[in-house]
Amino acid sequence: EAGVVQSPRYKIIEKKQPVAFWCNPISGHNTLYWYLQNLGQGPELLIRYENEEAVDDSQLPKDRFSAERLKGVDSTLKIQPAELGDSAVYLCASSSRGTGSSNEQFFGPGTRLTVL
């Protein structure tokens, strides 16, 4: 079974440029998460989708970040415009069902963003 796929793995852009990250979750997983991980820190949740609905986007900086999950499968996270402080690893994860404590999250390898 294929795991969570993310692309690109690395991205270098200049500040004020737009950037987009793509995630393909594990087949059949209804719940999709985007996390931000700064160097030396643990991941922090940005947004959670249940199917195509964003059910928790309270930590998403909506002035410059946006996300979508059309058809409840693949998801895209966008930053426009990027700032220097956005340099981090962006992780995508999926699980079979969001509620309850027994449904393990499966993480992708992440996209490492460097903003110059």
């Binding site: 820190q41 959670r48 059910v55 509620t99 404590s101 999250q105 390898p109």
Partner: protein
């Protein structure tokens, strides 16, 4: 914001030795999870311990939980080079996991 804090921040041991890392958290929990992150790879779930459990084993891993002290420990026995990674504790329901700051473990061959 980070709910948990791992201790130590970094740990280096010889291959074959045991490694112990600790996690302290702030609020009441229903369960606590441990994850491993290798260089270049995503996070991998290791083990979950529920608030009514005190100890749990999985292979070479042993996790303890002390809810009165709001702390957990992860013990890796007979360490191997492949155990070199960052280890994170995470609390909260799966839909709102909060990760700690991590312990960077290096196994010296």
């Amino acid at each position: 914001s980070q709910q948990g804090e791992e201790d130590p921040q970094a740990l280096s041991i010889q291959e074959g030795e045991n490694a112990t890392m600790n996690c302290s958290y702030k609020t009441s929990i229903n369960n606590l999870q441990w994850y491993r992150q290798n260089s270049g790879r995503g996070l991998v779930h290791l083990i979950l311990i529920r608030s009514n459990e005190r100890e749990k084993h999985s292979g070479r891993l042993r996790v303890t939980l002390d809810t009165s002290k709001k702390s957990s420990s992860l013990l890796i026995t007979a360490s191997r080079a492949a155990d070199t990674a960052s280890y994170f504790c995470a609390t909260g329901p799966n839909e709102k996991l909060t990760f700690g700051t991590g312990t960077r473990l290096t196994i010296i061959p």
